[in-house]
């Protein structure tokens, strides 16, 4: 029996496969069995409802996608009353991605949500006017937000870093000093698409966030850099499309990984990746994740 379980802080996941924030919703449960996954990260929750950005909100690039969603969500109260009960029944670890436009907002949200595995702090969304990536680029702000959240919750706090920071090792260190249990490395990369008929940027907010296999080497390098400079568990995220990508992230230093836009390309990818990972461990006579690091 192969044991793919992984641990960080006080958390134990049955395997290292998580679904990233902002790519899935409950209808996916009709296609895949969420209880097989290590966990899921919910769509970003803000204190007040956010209507999101005007369309178009998505465009394709070679092996990737640029989005400009703008964190559309119905706000904290709706999340707690309408969404969370259903998600808790999925039979997997639930992480709640939280978004605040100020430290106070982050504190309010974190202090009101209970009964989940932990929080993922969104200080890296590139598609909003206030907060998001603008917070995540500043190590002092990363520290202050992380600390403020850790002060109001007993739950594990994972900080989702932006690849737009001048030095991602510095922001990872700041998250650690603020009390983070782990960091997610990383959110989407800012990118631009042009509408050649209108001769202007496709998105009303000009830039969007690039994800998908196109960014995998960049995200992987960020994981490697953080691993080699900061002693904090890493959740690797960026362009994972198959089980070999998962292995690369784990070997580069990730404790777990998140799958994102690949589920648009193939909604069954999470389960297929998990099955293939099991087979690969079996083929190599590896019994658990620790065996992966044997040479």
């Amino acid at each position: 029996m192969i044991d793919l379980s992984t641990k960080f802080g006080s958390l134990k996941l049955k395997n290292p496969i998580l679904l990233a924030s902002g790519v899935w919703d409950v209808p996916y449960t009709k296609l895949i069995d969420f209880s097989k996954l290590g966990g899921v990260v919910c769509k970003g929750v803000s204190l007040n409802p956010k209507e999101g950005n005007p369309p178009p909100r998505i465009t394709e690039t070679p092996c990737g996608v640029i989005n400009s969603i703008g964190l559309e969500n119905k706000g904290l109260d709706n999340f707690i009353n309408e969404i969370l009960p259903g998600i808790k029944a999925l039979g997997t670890q639930i992480f709640v991605n939280i978004f605040g436009e100020s430290i106070e907002e982050f504190k309010k949200i974190a202090s009101k949500i209970e009964g989940v595995a932990g929080f993922e702090v969104n200080i890296s969304c590139p598609n909003v006017g206030k907060g998001g990536e603008s917070f995540g680029r500043d190590p002092k702000m990363v520290f202050s937000i992380t600390k403020a959240i850790c002060d109001v919750t007993e739950l594990p706090v994972i900080v989702k870093l932006t690849p737009s920071a001048v030095n991602i090792e510095e922001t990872a260190q700041a998250a650690k000093e603020g009390g983070a249990t782990a960091v997610t490395v990383s959110n989407t990369f800012p990118g631009l698409a042009i509408d050649i008929e209108k001769k202007e940027p496709l998105f009303k907010r000009i830039t969007g966030g690039l994800s998908g296999p196109a960014i995998k080497p960049l995200a992987l390098y960020n994981v490697y850099k953080v691993k080699n400079s900061v002693d904090i568990p890493i959740i690797g995220s960026g362009g994972i499309a198959n089980y070999k990508d998962v292995l690369e992230f784990l070997i580069a230093g990730a404790t777990a990984v998140q799958l994102g836009s690949i589920i648009f390309n193939n909604p069954l990818a999470p389960i297929e990746i998990l099955d293939n990972l099991q087979c690969w461990f079996e083929d190599n006579s590896y019994k658990n994740l620790k065996d992966l690091y044997k040479k």
Binding site: G22, P27, L31, G52, P54, I58, E60, F264, N265
Partner: protein
Amino acid sequence: MAPIFKILPVLENKKLGTYRKVTLADKQMYKLAECGNFVMIGFLTLDPYLPRPFSFLEVNKNTFSILVKVKGKGTQRLSRVREGDNLKVLGPLGKKFCSPKEGVLIAGGIGIAPVYYQSKHMNGGILFYGGKSKKDLIFIKEFKENGFKVRTTNEEDGGLVTNLIKKHAEELNEKQIFVCGTIEMIKSVRNILNKEQIDNAYVYMEERMGCGLGGCKSCAVATTEGYKLICTEGPIFPLKEVSLD
């Protein structure tokens, strides 16, 4: 309604008017698909990365088909698939719509696809149908056989579907109306309907889509009640509710 995700073989790809009609072999969709539903069609590769949303054109016991107009990379490649090629299929998606047995259908160009599929759930009515040229206009015979009065026009001969509607405005009264076409066409139709004080109209909306399952929140359409997602709350919306700016 639970959608299925499958890899299905192409049975046929043939020219139809100025479009390609791509038919896939499948027995399940017939049992699941309803009026108003659509499918996401993708390739077995990472590039193109995203699947594309298509209205059903026809759904039969052992096959279903979509209508393809080449617009970008995805539709270009889809227009060249051959018998035996495999495609990823996710569907049926979207909100089921109970079509009236009779009504008015208004289609422009490739907007005929969902309208034709809807007509299969009806016993008759009137079709107003415009295209760029005569060659654009398809399924005229089939609509007539299904009890529809068909009124067509085309831009090459100087005609717009909106002029056709203006001319026969009396035929719109007290019937449910369904529109599918370009945003410009939909705007013009709405102006005419407003003048005639008709508000019993629905529109098929289209937007760039990521997942088709409400996960990515990409396919937003502005409505009087804020943004709604085409994939889970549409694609059919009351015409008076949507913002067309």
